[in-house]
Structures are given as C-alpha cells and as structure tokens.
Amino acid sequence: MNGRADATPSPSGEDSLGDPSETVTPSDTPDVLVVGGGLAGCFAALSAAREHPAAAAVELLVTAADRFDRHPGTIDVLGYPGRSTDDDSTAATEHRQPVETPFDAIDALPEDHPYRRLGRDRLRTALALFDDELDYSGERSEHNALVPTHTGRVRPTARYPDWMAAGLASRDEPMGLVGFEQAPALDAAFVADRLGERLPYEVTAVTVEFPGRVTESPAGPVLARALDGDEAPSGDVGTPDFDVVEEEPPSSLTPDEEQGPAREPLVERVRSELALEGRVGFPAVLGETAYQTVRDHIESALYAEVFEIPVGPPSVPGRRLERRLHAALADAGVAVTSGALEGFEADDGRIDRVSLSGRDRAVESVVLATGGLSGPGLVADRAGVHEPVFDCHVDHPDDRLAWTEPTLLADHAFGRFGVSVDDELRPLDATGRPEYENLRAAGRIVGGFDYDAEQSADGVALVTGGAAGRWSSP
C-alpha cells in the first residue's frame, strides 16, 4: 500500500493538504464510525481503512476542531513508567531519569495498562504503521530521544518530525536559540539558561524582532502564516493622528513602510545577532504549510541546521501533524466529517444507527476517541464526570475536591479519569460488562492511567487506536 503519496510534502514545500477536493464523500452506511479527530481517532480510522482497504467504509467524525492545537507534534511512547509510591514521591519523581528504551520499561507497568493489555507487538505494529504513513524520525532507534521544551526542560519522546531532528537535547552538541520579541511563549534567553545549566554543552540565545508588525496574541499562527506566504504581517492597530500632539511620534508608532517579505529580513536579523552555531532552534512557528521551504531557506542562509521548539497552544506543529494525518486518511479513503454525534439507536447491546448532524445512518461498529477531560471526551458538571456521547460509565469520586490535588504538578485523580475497558477495548459499564458489543475506545478516553505523567499519551493513542480500528474493520 502506498500511504505516503500525499503525506510527504510536495516538492514545492507546500503541504498540499486540507484541499476540499480531496475529501472523500461519506458513505451512506459506514461500516466503521470513529468519533473524535485527535491522534487516536485519526489513527483508528487509518488502521480500520488499511486493514481491509476494499471492504470497509470508514468515516471519521471530528467533534472538536482544536484537538491538535494542544499537541506538540512529537510521538511520546513512554517516558516515566508509573509514579513512585514513596512518601517522598515529589522529590523522587522529579529527579527520576526518563526511560531510555520504552519497550524495556513496559513490564514495569501495571497489567491493565493499555501497553500490557495489548502487548508490545501491537505497539510495534502501530508504530510501524505510523512510520509508514507519516514522515517522522526516530524509528531507527529503540531509544527515546530527548527534546527541549519551551520552558527549558527536556522531554523524552520516541518519534519526532524532521523539523525537530537537529534539536535533540540528547545530541551532545552546543545549540543556539532564537526568540522573537513578539512571541513571549518562548523566552530564548531563559530557555537557554535553563537548558545550559542542565545539559553538558553550551546553549546560547538571541532574541530578534520578527519582521513586520504583530499585534495578535498568541502570535504563533500569525508568524507561521507570514512565513508561509513570505509576507511580513501588518498587525491591526488604530491609525494614530499625529497632528493632535506636538511632539514627534515615537519611532515604534511611525506608519509602516511597504509590507515586505518575511523570510529574508528574518534571517538577516538573526545572522547579525547570532554567534556561529552548528544548530539553531526557533519557536515552532516557521510555517504551517510551507515549513519545509522555510526551514531550507533559513538553514542555507545561516549555514546551520535549523530546528523548532514547540510552543502553544495553539501549536503549529500540532496542526502540521494533523495535516499529515488527514493526508494519510484521504489516501486511505477515509471520509472525514465535522460535527456532533447527536443521537444513536442501540438494540440488543449493539449500536445500530447514529445521527450525525442531520444524517441518520447505520453502523457496523464505532470507535470512541473523543479524548479525556482535557476535552471534549469527558464532561465534568455538578452531577459528576460523564462521557457525553454514549454515556459510558466513568468511575470517579463523588467529592469534587478529590478530583484534584491542591497543587498543579501533583498526582491528580482526574488524570486517570476515563472509561474502563476489556481486552478488546470495549468500555465497561458499572457492573463490568461491555456497554455495547460493537463500541471500542481509544486514546485518552481509556482511563486508569495518567498519560501525561507517563509521557505516554501518543503511544497509547496509537496502540489503542490501531487495535480498535483493526478490530472494528469487518
């Protein structure tokens, strides 16, 4: 099968995705309906479609448009297996080194963890499909890579896109960072200080003004679009009337010169400030679609390898990942629609029909991949925590104050909220029986574990999405 045709950026450097003409018309009777357009949902739909390319009609219902705005674009498989249960757990947890090889650490997880439940072979299969469909790096190493974060920490990850490859913190080589005055999400001097203190090589920083005028906040998407189109942003401010005041208008308020290009002025500003570095990191706003071209341009101008550090939300790298996934979905013949699942009919423990934004149709099987409490898969209201689409059972304490701990970086109960599943990923009701025979869950909606603390959310999304998708395919 050829899943790469549209997933790989075209020679022009433009991600030719999101073109409506490429979308697949939904079938009247999708055999498989995947609800939820995050990584798990996309991957479930992809897996279902690839399992039996000819036989299955697969539809992906995107219920929230912003799922990837919070995704940093890496694929984290396992960084920290389990929390230490010592009394002094905070200190112990904080300084525990991330695991070097995720597959070796799986055995340390509890038996009902998705990795243990589904097994490492399924995880390998899922990663292999991801590697085949998406153009990511890291697949040639069983080891985690360490990537820098925009607050000066490092994070273990298993797969990273090409635009992060040069920036691995686990590459023992100095790096320079470039910040933009208009994008305070990445304070380059601060991040360089923090990384430099913690890594065995020098990290330097400069901060430059992005060409043009930027008044939007957060600035990331505006800067990315400016680089995509190579046109400096013009901002959005009221026009001053300088006649009213006698003094000279401050220089920052003088009217714009002709709106010019963005890329070349940017590299000129960086070049004049930056010391010689072999690799240079930017906030990940270097284009949302033409990022390949933009990076090539900057690399050749700076004579350095260029990488990006995710910032956000909104996360431009998340949107890039989404575009690549949607290209793969289009290639696989998956129909992608947006809207809400408004209702469903079930009979004899099976979901037979669903209502989708005015369309009413039969389904063979359904994958629930709407995400966790971070949205929109779980809803917390005065009555408690609910799964709003199929009203699956969600175990949680009655006392609202027991959902969270008093401090942000703690072991919160809500981190584990979700549905309980059986070995076939079917959500279970309060008595431990499957809610519906043909309903499976994937991704963060599968409860029991804090995937953020484990740094495992993406691997779990892939292995549960992959399995749920394949099992749902007739």
Partner: protein, 636 residues
C-alpha cells in the same frame, strides 16, 4: 522637629492600605505589613459592589447615606478603579425601598419587569421589576494597590509578604513588633504556610476571658497614653521624593539582589512602633493574640464565584436579611463577581476550612452561589474560580458597620483592632480610625483622603486619539487603559516591541514590568503582578500564560526563582478552580496536560555527557542530517 509617632498597620486589603494612606498623608510614620501580596482575598468584601446605599436604606438609613457619600468620593478620587455600571435592586417591596431611598436622597427609579429587562437583558426573566439606583462596580485590587502606592509616595513603608510573628507588650503598652519577610516565593509549601496561618487564626479567637466586653466603636474615652506631641504642624501633605511617580519609567529593572537564590530564609525585623492598627480581617484575632489580647468574633462566610465575561452589565443586587450582605452580581473588568453570604451555623455549605481548602469554598458552597443567584440573573456565565471569604465580625454582631476594639482594655495600650466595614465605606472607616489614633498622640490634622486623587485616578486627556494605541491591538489598548487610568501612556509607551503576555486579559509586557517595578510589590511576587494587572485571571487561569508572565522575572532573577514564582502563581490559581464544576475542570485538565505533559515541568533532569549518551541523538538517521552546513569559510 517634633516627635512623629510610628504606626504599624497590619493588613494589606482596602482598609489596611486606606489606613496607611491616611496616616501617611497626615504626616505620621507608617509601616504596613501583609503576609501575602497586597489585596490578598482575606480582607474586606471583594464582591466588587460600590454600593449606593439603596440596599440598606430601609433598615439602616445612616449607613445608606454614608455609602452614597463614599460612592461619590470614590468616583472622584479613584476613577480608574470604578465603573459606572449603574445598579438594579430586585426583591420584594420595591416601593417601600424606593421611599426609603428617597428619604436618604438616593435616586431610585422603579422599573417595570419589561423596563428592567430592557435595561439589563441578563436579568432572570422571572424578575418582577427592579429599582434602578446609582450603584457601581469597583475593582478592589486596583483600589488597594493604588492606595498602597499613594501611601508610599507620602512616605509609608509598604511591606508585602511580611508577617507579624510577635507583639511584645511591656508595662501595659506595645513595645516592639517582630515581623518576618519571606524574600522570594520559595515553593508551593511556602505559599501554603501563608494560607494555613489564616485557618489557624480563627481557632485562636475563642476561649478568652474578655469576650463579653462590648467592642468600642467610639473615638472618645481612650487613654491618651504615651502620646507624643504633634510633629510638623503644617496641614499640607508632603510627597516624599523616594517614591516613583510612575512605575516602569524610573529606576530601571528590579534590584538584581546579589544573593539571588541563595538566602531564602525569612528576614526578621524588630519594629519599635508606637501604635499598631490591626486591620487583618479574619486574621485579626490571631494578630491580637500575639499580644495576648483577644477579639471576640463571629465568623460570617461569604462565597464569591468569578464568572468569565459579563453575563450582566449592571450591578444587580438583592437585599438580604438584616445584618447580612446582599446577594450580588457585579461586572468588574472582564469578569463578573457573584457573591452570597452565609452566616456561621446557618448553612451546611459553610464548611470549615481544612488544611487543603484554606480560602477555597466547598463544592457545595460554590453550587449554592449559582442556586442563590438564579432568580436574580438569567445565567451566571462560566464559573472560573471561587473564593471563600471568611468574614470576621465582632460578637455581638454589628451588621455591616465597622467596629474598633481598643486593646487598652485588655492592658495593652497601643493596639487597636478594626473589623467590619465594606469596600464602599473603607475610606471613611480609615478616616475615623486615623482620627482616633491621632487623638491618642494629641495630633489634630484633618483627613484629606477624600480630596486627593489616587495614582491612576487623576483626570488626564484620553491619549488614544493622539498617539493611536501604542502599537497594540485596539482591544488590548482598551483593557490596558481601563486598568492603568492616568498612567496608561507612561506604561504602554515603549521603545521596542510590547507583546501581550496574557492573551485572555490583554496584559502586555510593559504592564507586567511596571507591576514588578512597583515598590509596593514584593520582589519577584507574581501574585502582586496578578492583582495589579489581572494577568493569569482569564479562562486558563494562568495555564497558558503563567510561564510567560514568570519569565519576565528573567534575567533579573535566576531560573530557580522564576520557576518557583511560576509554580506559586499557578498553584494559587489552581486552588481557586478546584471546587468549580463545569468547563473549568476541562481547563484544569488542559493546564495540567500542558505543564506536566508538554512542558514536562514535573521533571527536572541534570544530565552529563554519559547521561544523555543513552538516548537517541538522531545519528541513527544520517539521512536526516542536512548537508547544507559548509561552515568552513563562512564569514558572518
């Protein structure tokens, strides 16, 4: 030069800062201490209502008229803290209330249900008419900070993050007060310790032997004591040169203290003060207890929830039972504050504060706010956070009126506890207390706090036409201007870029810098930045912007201080969201995911060459290494 008495004010809320301002303007030597940043939500009523008095006209005409007078005064002196929203009073017997208002000279217009709904579409449809009255909204944070800054400009020593740890009494008079200042926000535990102090304080209030003594509300009859003679006798207040007239334009960055990250031990200071005014709110009994004095209090309990946006544009109130605060829904800036009161013992919702709850209410109490206000407003909006405001009042209760207790009756001359009052009347209360304390020293100087404008409140021409929006988006400029008042131009006028660091609240880097430069803020205290700028009070409660605000401390402070300050800021925000149901729980999950997951702030790794050697360095993928780096021969 004559003798100038040194007064210590304990408490940094509207009343405490108002006291410090009044004392300073009258020329006394003043020190103000507060264990948190200023305007921590433990003092005074923070529901945001600048009352016209209409709510109280029937049962307490004197108080109602005082409210009206203070309402007008605050419009004059603190225009940038006040928004003329107008007010609607709903409830029973509005005709009777209207008559009572007229007797108090409070303009009150009886609106039919249709007219009321037309005036305020956010009213509950079931509301059967309303009284339109000149209520307004007041931003208690801006007010408190402005008063503190003004006090400092008149020479007061403002010390946030400073706690009174002992009051030494000798021969029946206050001799020395020991205070401890915490240099930096050390970690979450340090922050918790502040909250615990309040929880403990209420326990110290009972079990005394003078509890039956009625509090003294009069200004007369106290011993003149060791009063000194009046110092300078001129009535003209003198602004000291030490203060900054405009933050952010003088003095450059924060002091690059040399032992940054080194000495995190509290600084202990012994103050030889002549008089102590205890305005520590619900913490007042504990403060008095340090001098072995007691304050007989009854605890009221107010729950305030903060809703996103403005489901109402008018201050909507419903008078409550006599002696209780009205139910209120008041739009303040980009939020709406919803408040109900619960007397101790009257409702199970007022659960006692455990070590984990501190100033946060129980979920039941939060839900109760929404229930209480249904029937008042159509929707309460999206609740972002909730505060539990323990409200200490003298026992027997004196309603909403203020009261003072002179501890001279407990063999401690030089200590006065003030409780009660509201944000509307705080200036008047401060005036009365200052009159009395000055009287102790034989000083007779007129109060001028009702004439002198607060910093930011001065009348200045609107600069928007003249200089545009300082390169900012229009909405950012408008929100900044509302907070900054007459200092808008000084703060927003920057040479370089001035990006927005808190998107929800439209707070720019220069506004944060001005707040950090404010001498009435403690070093590196982002809580102080929050009350000055409203940064991190939007939808994500700092989840998205907290780190951006925190890195404004860099490079003046090292990375460790920045991290701790960020954690303290976010933990404070976290607490207030915990009892709230609904979409805010989703926001909390997103904040956790961002900080624990994407940023990996839960782990801190120091790694040497051998440590990182065990991880993928990308070299397995030689094809991925670009070949565009012929660094030889390149010249910059």
């Amino acid at each position: 030069m004559g003798y100038t008495p040194h007064v210590l004010v304990v408490g940094g809320g509207p009343l405490g800062t108002g006291l410090a301002r009044d004392f300073a303007i009258r020329g006394l030597e003043v020190t103000l201490v507060d264990p948190g940043p200023l305007a921590a939500p433990r003092t005074g009523r923070m529901g945001g209502l600048l009352a016209s008095g209409a709510q109280f006209a029937r049962e307490d005409p004197d108080y109602a008229q005082r409210c009206l007078a203070e309402n007008r005064t605050l419009f004059e002196i603190a225009g940038h803290c006040v928004e003329d929203t107008g007010g609607l009073v709903v409830g029973d017997n509005l005709d009777g209330l209207q008559t009572a208002c007229e007797d108090c000279s409070i303009a009150a217009q009886h609106l039919s249900a249709e007219a009321a709904t037309e005036r305020e579409p956010g009213l509950d449809p079931a509301v059967d008419g309303a009284l339109a009255v000149p209520d307004a909204a007041i931003d208690p944070f801006l007010l408190t900070v402005a008063a503190a800054r003004d006090a400092r400009e008149y020479g007061a020593d403002i010390r946030p993050r400073t706690e009174v740890t002992d009051i030494v009494v000798e021969n029946g008079a206050v001799e020395t007060v020991v205070v401890e200042q915490t240099p930096f926000p050390v970690d979450a535990d340090g922050r918790d310790a502040t909250g615990d102090a309040d929880g403990d304080a209420t326990d110290d209030a009972d079990g005394d032997d003078t509890g039956g003594e009625p509090p003294d509300d009069g200004a007369d009859g106290a011993d003149p004591g060791a009063g000194g003679e009046s110092g300078e006798d001129g009535d003209e207040p003198v602004r000291s040169d030490g203060g900054k007239s405009v933050p952010g334009t003088v003095g450059g960055g924060t002091d690059p203290t040399e032992d940054l990250g080194g000495s995190l031990e509290p600084t202990v200071d012994r103050l030889d003060v002549d008089y102590v005014v205890n305005a520590a709110g619900d913490n007042a009994p504990a403060v008095a207890g340090l001098a072995d004095c007691s304050v007989p209090v009854s605890q009221g309990q107010e729950t305030v929830t903060v809703a996103a946006g403005r489901p109402v544009e008018t201050a909507v109130t419903r008078p409550a039972a006599p002696g209780e605060a009205p139910d209120t829904a008041v739009p303040v800036g980009q939020h709406t504050l919803l408040a109900t009161e619960h007397r101790s013992g009257s409702d199970a919702a007022g659960v006692p504060s455990g070590p984990d709850t501190g100033h946060i209410p129980s979920p039941l109490a939060v839900d109760n706010v929404a229930d209480s206000l249904s029937g008042l407003v159509a929707g309460t909006g999206r609740t972002q956070r909730a505060l539990r405001l323990p409200r200490a009042e003298f026992d027997p209760g004196r309603g909403r009126d203020f009261a003072v207790l002179d501890h001279d009756r407990q063999d401690c001359w030089g200590l006065l506890t003030v409780l009660g009052g509201t944000v509307t009347t705080h200036r008047w209360v401060a005036e009365r207390v200052c009159d009395r304390v000055c009287g102790e020293f034989g000083i007779q100087r007129a109060c001028q706090t009702d004439e002198l404008q607060l910093p930011g409140g001065e009348d200045v021409p609107d600069l928007a036409q003249a200089v545009g929006t300082f390169g900012l988006a229009e909405s950012v400029y408008e929100h900044s201007k509302r907070r900054l008042g007459s200092q808008t131009s000084a703060v927003l006028h920057t040479d370089g870029e001035n990006p927005v660091v808190c998107s929800c609240q439209s707070v720019t880097r220069s506004e944060v810098a001005a707040a950090l430069d404010d001498e009435t803020n403690a070093d590196a205290d982002l809580g102080g930045v929050r009350v000055r700028t409203s940064a991190t009070t939007g939808r994500s409660q700092g989840g998205r912007c907290g780190h951006q605000v925190a890195t404004q401390l860099h490079p003046a402070y090292d990375g460790e201080v920045v991290e701790n300050a960020c954690t303290a800021l976010l933990d404070e925000r976290w607490q207030g969201q915990r009892p709230v149901a609904g979409p805010q729980q989703t926001e909390m999950a997103r904040t956790y995911r961002l900080h624990a997951g994407v940023m990996n702030r839960g782990h801190d790794h120091e790694m040497g060459h051998t440590d990182i050697a065990g991880y993928d360095d990308g070299s397995h993928d030689p094809a991925d290494r670009p070949t565009c780096c012929p660094r030889v021969g390149w010249e910059p």
